[in-house]
């Protein structure tokens, strides 16, 4: 993949005057793309992704790190980007929901959520899918329903009652474990 390079400023001038404290330069990879930016120390990773990079697929559903709508992968592991500072991602690789598909080919977990009606309003969905992929990485493609339910405790959904999310993750995990998909992972 070609490495694009963008520089972004996360704050306007008025805010910069207001927060005269030091800013910090960071460089990271987001969805395979090299990104450099100057950020306030207090900038959250989710703010950086949504506001500076316009990657609005990552959502904010709460302010206490409970709901999981903001889950992204940091060096391949699920993190809540609402409780991760942008500066903590310096030198690391971030994958968001926008970076999960391979071109026009959906990730097996995305496909499974669609096939099994694992979403309704769609707001929790990016975080659910990112957590689901992480669950498979941690527990393997054969993970069972109790494991899914127990380990999905960091992701809230108000629409589905989780019934079809659990089915989707079960199917998505199996698809991820199938030989033809190993290469894609």
């Amino acid at each position: 993949m070609t490495q694009a390079h963008v520089s972004v400023q996360t704050q306007d001038s008025a805010q910069a005057r207001h927060n005269a404290s030091a800013t910090i330069a960071i460089s990271l990879t987001v969805n395979g793309r090299a990104v450099s930016a100057v950020v306030e120390p207090r900038t959250l990773l989710v703010q950086f992704l949504r506001e500076a990079l316009d990657l609005t697929g990552t959502h904010v559903g709460c302010d206490t790190s409970q709901c999981g709508a903001c889950v992204v992968h940091l060096d391949g592991e699920a993190v809540k980007s609402c409780t991760t500072l942008a500066v903590q991602a310096d030198g690391r690789a971030v994958t968001t929901i926008e970076g999960l598909a391979q071109g026009t080919t959906l990730h097996p977990m995305q496909e499974a959520f669609r096939e099994h009606h694992g979403l309704q309003c769609g707001f929790c969905t990016p975080g659910m899918i990112m957590s689901a992929v992480d669950l498979v990485a941690r527990f393997g493609p054969g993970l069972d329903e109790p494991t899914i339910r127990d380990n999905l405790d960091g992701n809230l959904c108000r629409c589905t009652g989780y019934h079809n999310i659990v089915r989707a993750i079960t199917a998505g995990a199996q698809a991820m474990g199938a030989p033809r998909d190993l290469a894609a992972e």
């Binding site: 207001h18 609005t56 904010v60 995305q110 669609r114 707001f123 990016p126």
Partner: protein, 789 residues
């Protein structure tokens, strides 16, 4: 498009809208930015009840990045009116409800923690927050009125409402009900609290107001379930702008459950302020603000009595409910504990006499309005709890007791307004008992007992009134609006179709289900149908989505528009085929001259409608676009039976639902996959109410449950996989036979869970939410009583 498919009614078509959601391309209000936008932050009251003696914004206004700070005085100076409640209720004495003034920004008083005092508009959200902290407010604290049980005696919240009473309403025949009780062989009584809930759609509310001084017109992006109603209220009552100068757009909306029906202070202020400051103004709620200021649901205290004859036949029901309205009457608040509640108190049962009194009381808490089910969960919880208790008191089997009292002939006029048009309650009960292996419960209970677990099974035979609603009927009951729905079917020259609907999808899958209907009717692939909603500039008018109305009412409007499209296309086809119009048959997407092989594809006729070469335009107008306004002839009456089986660990008080069965009669089902998904989600919210969720205010009116660390949302591990089945009686009151499915789970589940839990624990006194701590206390108290005896 090789995979193009005609999608029949009843097929589990995968959702068209999913692709954007699973790839992060959904467009929710907070995902949008307007050039030059500023950010709004609301200074909210820290007190439940206080007079504002002074408000000094000077220092705050001088802070870096502040664009402006606006208060209730500015709102008044611009002639912006109060937020309104759109459903008039009259008290027993004939007096109109006492609607306290509800300004979008407080004028001289605040009435709940989170009430809006001022708005700071700044270059960034952080700058706005910093400045808000510098606003000096001189509050004179007044006594909080946080407890519904003592609201009458509390400090008066609104000048117009003595004893904090909004209305004292009644429904039913009091004398007939008293006569039923006079001849009763047995009377079952119950006292219930229907716990207060926070709706909690995962997307917090948000709004962007954008005033265009060139056109003198506003655009408001907002997280609304009904953008046209929002525009109407903001225009006709609040006075932001004339309707034709106010465009309201509700883009992708991340769940609503009722809480996004209402017209709130924040979107009102964002629209108004965008003209004041000459820039777009954006506000996004954080979750803490959502807990404080989204309208809550439920919150009833009820005493009820059921009169029975010696055999267990119900003779009458008498109910007295106190309903918490919160600090202000929200947009539809007055209709919830009245016409959406007491009208369902007959349940599935033939009850000859019912009398219900409802006292609607103000408290210094957030406004209370519709939340999934809206009045009907409260009714079902009451009916199914008291019926269960009566069966137990009479020593009768719960299922048989219900069956004995079922309504079995339709139409059935209840004593509380509703005329049930169709149903088969016995069929749903039979299927639910079979699915749940009700007969095998005693064996499972004994096995659980050997493991030291308390096991219970509970039924809930719910009914709801959906497909809201016949306009004249609701008008006669006090509604300020009609509740029809609109649709427009635009056939393009190349034969693909746009459907414009006044319904709004915020998770319900309309882009799929509505397209499925069009695909089936016109015989064109579903890929060639787009559904347009949520924009007042695109859709002429509509009433939005709530009350399980989008299928029964919204799709009926589409069906009517499709009738007109087909009729016109037949006329055009007749000219093209040089046949008489009466000989044209339309089937599987082709217009055929009856008895011949001469036919045309739908797309050929569509093209010719626009080319207009082959028919006289003096007789038939060119084009193929038809609209319909459909007004339902009755409510619809989805009903069914939910069965909950659970186990309690007496050592910890933890309740585990081991099986949950739902059998529902939703009439005709367009897409069973989507319908089952609606049932799942509803059950989860109902189980949440029964076991986990409850909004708590302390005696000072401070919100104790203000975050996800304090308010227990159902998580995946709290719920089992659900068993969902259906029975079907066609709804005779709309052209598609649809009853609606969106609220059933939330209506049915609480009673099923609590009926199971009361059985497991051997006491009728189990409050919601039945948290482990409460269940453990009940078990301990019972053990202590047993030891004392």
């Amino acid at each position: 498009m090789s995979t193009a498919t005609i999608t029949p009614i009843g097929a589990a078509v995968r959702r068209k809208e999913d692709h954007r959601f699973i790839t992060g391309k959904g467009r929710y209000t907070d995902d949008l930015d307007r050039p030059g936008q500023a950010y709004a932050y609301f200074l909210r009251s820290p007190f439940a009840h206080a007079a504002i003696r002074g408000l000094d914004i000077a220092a705050a206004k001088a802070m870096p990045g502040v664009v402006d700070i606006l208060t209730g005085a500015d709102l008044a100076a611009d002639g912006i009116g109060d937020l309104i409640c759109g459903w008039m209720i009259h008290s027993k004495d004939g007096s109109p409800m006492k609607m306290g003034s509800h300004p979008a920004l407080a004028k001289d008083k605040v009435r709940y923690v989170g009430d809006h005092v001022a708005v700071v508009i700044a270059e960034s959200l952080n700058a706005a927050k910093d400045a808000a902290a510098a606003i000096a407010v001189d509050y004179e604290e007044l006594p909080a009125v946080a407890d519904l049980a003592h609201a009458r005696e509390g400090a008066q919240i609104h000048d117009c409402a003595p004893a904090n009473t909004a209305f004292e309403w009644e429904l039913g025949d009091k004398a007939a009900t008293e006569a039923a009780f006079a001849r009763a062989a047995h009377v079952t009584t119950i006292d219930l609290v229907n716990n207060r809930l926070a709706p909690n759609p995962m997307e917090p509310r948000a709004a962007i107001g954008d005033y265009d001084s060139g056109d003198e017109a506003y655009t408001l992006w907002t997280t609304s379930q009904n953008p046209h109603v929002a525009r109407l209220v903001l225009s006709a009552f609040v006075g932001i702008a004339p309707e034709h100068k106010l465009r309201v757009i509700a883009p992708d909306v991340g769940g609503g459950f009722g809480s996004k029906i209402f017209i709130y202070a924040e979107e009102t202020v964002c629209a108004w302020a965008s003209r004041r400051v000459g820039r777009p103004v954006k506000w996004t709620s954080d979750r803490s603000e959502a807990f404080l200021s989204d309208a809550h649901g439920r919150d009833h205290r009820t005493h009820a009595e059921l009169a029975l004859d010696a055999e267990g036949k119900i003779l009458g029901l008498r109910v007295h409910t106190r309903a918490n309205m919160g600090a202000y009457l929200s947009t539809f608040a007055s209709s919830i504990p009245t016409y959406l509640y007491a009208t369902l108190l007959s349940g599935q049962y033939d009850i000859p006499a019912i009398y219900c009194e409802v006292d609607a009381l103000y408290t210094t808490t957030a406004p209370v309005d519709a939340y999934r089910g809206a009045g009907r969960p409260e009714a079902t919880f009451l009916v199914e709890r008291i019926v269960e208790k009566a069966a137990r008191e009479l020593g009768q089997d719960s299922a048989q007791f219900r069956r004995r009292n079922f309504i079995t002939a339709f139409p059935h006029q209840t004593p509380v307004i509703m005329n049930y048009d169709a149903g088969d309650y016995g069929a749903a009960l039979d299927k639910a008992l079979e699915f749940s292996d009700y007969a095998g419960f005693p064996v499972r209970q004994a096995e659980a007992a050997r493991r030291g677990k308390l096991r219970g099974i509970g039924l809930s035979n719910y009914i709801e009134a959906c497909g809201i609603a016949p306009s004249a009927a609701v008008g006669s009951l006090g509604a300020g609006v009609g509740l029809w729905e609109s649709a427009e079917v635009r056939v393009n020259p190349t034969g693909n179709v746009e459907v414009l609907t006044g319904s709004h999808s915020h998770g319900q899958g309309h882009e799929t289900t509505f397209a499925q209907l069009v695909s089936a009717r016109l015989g064109i692939p579903i890929e060639q149908v787009s559904v347009v909603h949520g924009d007042t500039d695109k859709v002429q008018f509509g009433m939005g989505t709530y009350g399980s109305r989008s299928g029964a009412v919204g799709m009926s409007a589409i069906s009517r528009a499709l009738d007109k499209v087909e009729a016109k296309a037949k006329k055009i086809a007749a000219y093209m085929l040089e046949a008489s119009e009466g000989d044209i048959e339309f089937k599987d997407g082709r217009f055929t001259v009856a008895g011949t092989d001469r036919s045309l594809a739908f797309a050929e006729v569509a093209l010719n409608a626009y080319v207009a070469h082959k028919f006289p335009t003096s007789e038939i107008e060119p084009g193929l676009k038809e609209g319909a306004f459909y007004d339902p002839t009755n409510f619809t009456f989805p009903a069914g039976c939910h069965v909950c089986e659970l186990e309690v660990d007496p050592l910890t008080g933890v309740t585990t639902i081991v099986n949950f069965t739902a059998v529902d009669d939703f009439g005709v089902v367009i897409n069973p996959m989507i319908v089952e998904g609606q049932v799942h989600g509803g059950i989860a919210q109902g189980v949440g109410q029964a076991l986990l969720e409850g909004v708590v205010y302390d005696a000072d009116g401070q919100l104790v449950t203000g975050s996800y660390m304090d308010y227990t949302m159902p998580r995946a591990g709290d719920l089992p996989a659900f068993q969902v089945g259906m029975t079907q009686t066609r709804c005779p009151s709309n052209p598609l036979g649809i009853k609606g499915c969106g609220e059933a789970g939330a209506i049915a589940a609480p009673a099923a869970v609590i009926n199971a839990l009361t059985q497991a624990l051997g006491t009728e006194e189990v409050p919601m939410p039945a948290t482990p701590a409460r269940v453990w206390e009940i078990i301990q108290a019972r053990a202590a009583r047993a030891a004392a005896e």
